[in-house]
Symmetry: C2
């Protein structure tokens, strides 16, 4: 129980979609006043930093409709209902890059947009990568290019705005400073 | 024009709230198939890494209703319509911490949830901090504690899960490795 906790008086469901849901909660603030909170519900996701034996990282390039632009990210995807996040990470790696991993390590979990969404991302590092024959295909509405880049190249992509999302910006800094081969 | 661009056939507005809006777009995929995209529209935000002369960073602790928990973050806030993001950063620093800054530097912009939202965050570093007499107050529905921590303390907060959002995880790594006093 936090001293600043906001008690819910009523939850009004607005939308229940294929990926996200939206609700508006009436809450009581710590000072007794009332406020409304617009909240996006998301099933949660994983992302992973795939590292090659040469210390390069594997990235994917895809069009993101919400941003109306193509951006470069680390592989990531939504957790299916009941799925172990580590298995989600292994599955997304295969679907998006055609690679398997013999060494996958949990790193950190973070919320992406705590101001309005409950989405959390579990982040992993994947090493000892190998190509999979006939890899499973991902979502039929995903179109993806795979890139293998050095840390220096990734930093240039950040500087040029091609790497443009928080999890990947974190991943580049992490790979640069904290990753031991 | 990206080769993977998704052309919008129709946009269906679902919700228009105080902070976010929600729409569902019918799109044409690169292979000619159609798909639906659930998209949250957000006005955009800023966040900043306030650094003291001793190299400590200033963090804020607040309850986040979307996550139903209290988390620790770098100061951040939404951009008001027409507001210069750098002025948003200076305003949020004052409102959330009571501090001013004589040196604020733009660092990077990133999307927080490119899979379903257009929210972007402009990140700044603020130095030469000073206390403001009678600082402006922030949103009346925000209840915030201010913390001043060393990088080592911030890393412990990450390990314990108290620091739990992407922008702050990035900020801690950045402060540890890239920040020159």
């Amino acid at each position: 129980m936090s001293k600043y906790e906001e008690k819910t008086l009523e939850t009004k469901p607005i939308f229940n979609g294929r990926i996200i849901a939206l609700q508006v909660d009436d809450v009581v603030l710590p000072d007794g006043q009332q406020a409304k909170r617009e909240i996006v519900k998301h099933p949660g996701a994983v992302a992973l930093i795939p590292v090659t034996v040469e210390g390069k990282i594997i990235l994917v390039r895809q069009f993101r409709k919400a941003l109306e632009r193509t951006i470069i990210e680390i592989p990531a995807g939504r957790i299916e209902p009941g799925e172990d996040p580590k298995l989600t990470a292994i599955r997304e790696l295969e679907e998006e890059t055609g690679l398997g991993t013999k060494e996958i390590t949990y790193l950190q979990t973070f919320a992406t947009s705590p101001g309005f969404a409950d989405e959390i991302i579990h982040l992993y590092v994947a090493k000892e990568l190998y190509p999979i024959d006939n890899p499973a295909e991902g979502d039929e509405d995903e179109f993806i290019d795979v890139l293998e880049v050095t840390i220096e190249e990734a930093e240039k992509m950040v500087a040029k705005g091609e790497i443009y999302d928080a999890k990947t910006a974190f991943a580049v800094l992490y790979a640069k400073h904290e990753l031991k081969n």
